[in-house]
Symmetry: C2
Amino acid sequence: MVAELAAGRRPTIIDVAKRAGVSKSLASRALRGDAGVSTSSRDLVLDAAQELGYRPNSAARSLVRGVSGLVGVVLNQLDNQHHTGIVQGVQERAKELNARVIIGNGAQNPEELQRQIDTMIELRVDGLVIVSSWVPRQVLERAGSEVPTVVLTHLADPPAEVDTIASDDVYGAQLAVEHLVQAGHQRIAYLSRSASATSQARIDGVVLALEAAQLPCTIVQVDAGDDINLQELSASGVDAVLCNNDLTAAEVIRLAHEQQVQVPGQLAVIGYDNTALARLLYPSLTSIDQPQVNMGRRAVDAIAERTAGRTEALRELYTPQLVVRSSTAQP
Amino acid sequence: MVAELAAGRRPTIIDVAKRAGVSKSLASRALRGDAGVSTSSRDLVLDAAQELGYRPNSAARSLVRGVSGLVGVVLNQLDNQHHTGIVQGVQERAKELNARVIIGNGAQNPEELQRQIDTMIELRVDGLVIVSSWVPRQVLERAGSEVPTVVLTHLADPPAEVDTIASDDVYGAQLAVEHLVQAGHQRIAYLSRSASATSQARIDGVVLALEAAQLPCTIVQVDAGDDINLQELSASGVDAVLCNNDLTAAEVIRLAHEQQVQVPGQLAVIGYDNTALARLLYPSLTSIDQPQVNMGRRAVDAIAERTAGRTEALRELYTPQLVVRSSTAQP
DNA sequence: TTGTAGGCGTTATCAT
DNA sequence: ATGATAACGCCTACAA
């Protein structure tokens, strides 16, 4: 049993050095595994640290080294599997590069998003990953000018200060629509619960694909609080619907069940993001897959490149893929 | 357009002071809105800061003040709505108390969980919220002795060093089983995909309730990689199943659809956590609700109390509630 | 191999 | 109202 320190006071490297009977610089070297430390004093220091329950103070370390070893991720929805898939990739790659990841949750609130970004920058993260298309351009510009910043969503007009890694939302929507057209659907709707740049890009894709097929186009926007009106949709003859994400598609499928609308028989449904939810639903959900984990990994690399000196903005676009499941009829 | 600083170098309070033509102490006061600063010099400083794009360095601040203003949340699953609901509560209350929240994701990996906890402590968070029952006792003891720590899951034997806020898992499971019994079910199973202390507590509740009802008890444990075998369950006469969470219940409902098992007619299903998923499924899912947001809020209060001097461990237990939906027959 | 000393950016104490 | 100055805990030349 080791004597406890005064409440609130945590042991410092000086305490460790004293207890080990060495100078604080030597303690510092030993603790970090620097070369040029005799085995004996290394053991002395390590033992002392262990006994005292020493923890390096990363504030002090960050201050003197000028880097924090931290990658910050700010996302606007914690319970969105598309976002969390990206975080997984970020964490994987960060670990390989010996960096730590901290996450800030924007809670679907633009103001909170901004607060989180501020917090990260003040924490002096070495890189910032933003998974949201709700961040004002001006905020992105400033963030990007202060720290290597990567935005992982579609941006209508990304500022030069930030890197962007996205998947081709226009093409993804086209893929989905083409799949529906090939299956013989004539009246295809796009149903969105979001008004982001991402959703807008998907609308563009839908329009393109439907024009090419010379088919009518129905765009439905439902605000957060409102209910989806499936009957109205059916009444207007819609026989297939592409949703802005899997969550919205899940809502549609539930409503279809409730209203005895056969999926895909009477109504084909396609989601977006290909999250775990797509496999969980019945009927299982056809969806557009984005390489979330890889995108997250690349984001960390982009930060590393910036740190290494790259100055041009990165504009990376991944190609999404159609994953066919039971919510659409096979052509 | 302001002259840019040398790459990599961020303006400090000294730069601001110089530009404003005042001492750094005065700049510091002005920046923090301290009283005792003349309006004129305050404006001077604030303008200078604005022009330079000054950001306080929280490492330096944290070092000298001894507090970071940070609350750390470590959770072992980012895409678990029960966990994210708690985070929401933490964020709400932290904001009211003027603290910032950073999140660490354990990624379902005990080793990573520990790394995240270490990171938070080294970052000198003022309080630590742990949403996981996978953290070794020893790690909790150490964390709790270094920083006010609150664990938000059921713990078989919580260390004296940490506060715990949980909901009564034994009672919750009892509630669920009693609901099934009242509906006339005779062969009730508990199906779990987790072997945590939380799940064990729910098993205890199931056993208690079934013994009281003098009904047989079936406990099924399915490991992460394995599939749920619904046919086997049906073959053994099970007509109702309580799942360890809503996600597992969703799997059961999908399987039931696939195998033409009527829910709730042939098989009643109850989830746990009452997440958004419960409302999304068809049939909608009866589930056990935990006051996640409130629990998250209370966690921040617990931290504040500790900081204010409380030394006894907090042991708070919330009472869960049954939310009846369509996946169980009305009694 | 080890120790000394200076400084990272900020706050706070003490003068003025 | 304002300004020196000494910490905070750590790292890193530079010396020994």
